[in-house]
Symmetry: C2
Subunit: 342 residues, 2 copies
């Protein structure tokens, strides 16, 4: 039983850092693309059998030290009644973004065991199939990130529609964010009950907010979600890409066990800044460097490991792996971590 991830989350002494990759069950794997020929993205997410097959692929193929359940952060707004499409080219899209009072009023309360039962079932199945080989990670989107998608309607460079909403209607924004914190927190608790051994919160659009807005509209709700999730007893990873400046505040305010570090933040700097806090760090190779020739990948990965050494560290990319990265390059990243000794 490989429990490196669990021990690293608790900042225990480990032989070497555990390694996994965000979006490791993804299009760069031919085995993933083959399954995707038969089912679209949301069908795969919604069918526990398929989701589990994909979840296990990187464990079998690359030998990563953790599996992360194959799902999507937008299943929560979907379960609250919003109609979602995902086109892997154009990204996710809600057919009727939240704008009017009536649209807000139509949002359903979240009962994870009912509307997200398929995710919990996939977690149970994946745990069984993993047979203890590596720990299983559950995840969810953080309140600000979900709210920004729900209001904007889809991905956006500036999230100007969602931010306009914050500027024009701060009270309704806070009400939505508070509601999402409770829903997402409860969802993570049920994921742990179903078998997730670690959970990660993705505040993917944290970087769309200026510092004072991050403090007003993201951080308190991230903290509330972490607080609820922690009550389930599993370690919680908080990842707020684009808000590397806030590492100390996230550590202090959320009480997360592990902080994700994005690739925009210098590893040694993150390590130094996080030193006063009881947190492990996860990250942070720039996914674009997996395009480099393998010897360069090895070099950069070792430099990253060295920069994080001396503390709990989970080796990862600083963002999701890109769909056109050669598998051999991903393998070089994983192997470099697995053969590294401080």
């Amino acid at each position: 039983m490989n429990d490196l991830l669990l021990r690293a989350c608790r900042r225990e002494v480990v032989e070497r850092p555990p390694v996994w990759m965000m979006r490791q069950a993804g299009r760069y794997l031919p085995e993933y693309r083959k399954l995707r020929e038969r089912a679209d993205f949301l069908t795969m997410v919604g069918t526990p059998d398929l989701a589990v097959q994909v979840t296990l692929q990187p464990v079998d193929i690359l030998g990563v030290d953790a599996a992360i359940i194959f799902s999507d952060i937008l299943v929560v707004p979907q379960a609250m009644g919003m109609r979602l499409s995902v086109d892997e080219g154009a990204g996710p899209r809600f057919h009727q973004p939240l704008r009017t009072e009536a649209e807000f009023a139509r949002l359903r309360p979240l009962v994870p065991e009912e509307s997200l039962g398929y995710v919990l079932e996939a977690i149970r199945l994946a745990r069984r199939e993993l047979e203890g080989r590596v720990p299983l990670i559950g995840f969810a989107g953080a309140p600000w990130t979900l709210a920004s998608y729900m209001i904007e309607g889809g991905a956006s460079r500036s999230f100007a529609v969602a931010k306009r909403f914050l500027a024009e209607e701060p009270e309704r924004a806070h009400a939505l964010l508070g509601r999402l914190a409770k829903a997402v927190g409860a969802f993570l608790v049920t994921q742990v009950a179903a078998g997730a051994q670690v959970v990660q919160l993705f505040d993917s659009w944290a970087g769309a907010l200026a510092p004072e807005d991050f403090r007003a509209f993201s951080l308190p709700y991230l903290a509330e979600t972490v607080r609820i999730a922690k009550s389930a007893g599993a370690p919680v990873i908080a990842f707020a890409p684009g808000a590397g400046w806030a590492l100390e505040e996230i550590a202090r305010v959320t009480g997360a066990d592990v902080l994700g570090v994005d690739w925009q933040t210098e590893a040694a700097e993150a390590n130094r800044r996080a030193a006063p806090f009881p947190v492990a760090l996860q990250g942070n190779l720039d996914p674009c460097w997996l395009y480099a020739p393998p010897p360069i990948i090895q070099q950069r990965t070792i430099a990253m490991l060295q920069a994080f050494s001396g503390r709990g560290h989970i080796a990862n990319l600083g963002h999701g792996i890109l769909p056109d990265v050669p598998v051999a390059h991903a393998r070089m990243f994983v192997e470099t971590v697995k053969t590294w000794r401080t």
Copy 2:
């Protein structure tokens, strides 16, 4: 003659900070949209008469303290032989992005007086029509930003194609960046000779690079461009949005007179961090806050002015003004600065 901008660039004592807005000659102005009905974006950029009309609009309508010549950073690659389209919805696009050796070899040397004569003519005309009311700013794109567009072919969220090029072919990347630094530097020198009283370098995609890559592929070429531009004698503003973490390094390495501060960076923090360096700061209200009700805009603008006070400061947004901001809101921003006294 309102020379507040020139005095602020030199960090002289001023009655109040000068104010202008990035993209102030833009679609949020009905007068701009009216001209755009008759001519597409690149025609307006390429026709000195039209460019000058648009350049003067925000001076007449909003009373800003500076005009910035209406143009585009991509005129430089275009003048080097790359075919460019600009669709205001989808953004700019090069028909044949740089990929093969042959495409690189076809790039023409830049002779600004010839291929960019229309920009210089617009600058001369604008100076004449301004009659000294406010100073005129010239500008250009920084080498990394131009290179990333030239290789990627257009705007992109991750610039993965351009970054893949850096990872796979660093030597050809450095050769291109070096060539662009000389070309852009020379272009800025001719802009000053034509009448630009301040010049700004936009490294708009600085934030697409991890810190070590910013130091390798952006900063040295930004510095070289600033060095050449400064030889013309006018103040140089360097703006590298998304690289707020590098403020000190940009100040130290480039020797720019003014550093632009993006909206992601906290104003008080930027002020504190820049304190040891002989630079003025420009920025940095989040453009999305111009959606807020005018009293909130006033509040936020005053807080921003206070955070920057005690040093050379040019009030601005932390990014370009958005096309759907009400003119009255932009005016509130400008008026708040103009009536503010420390």
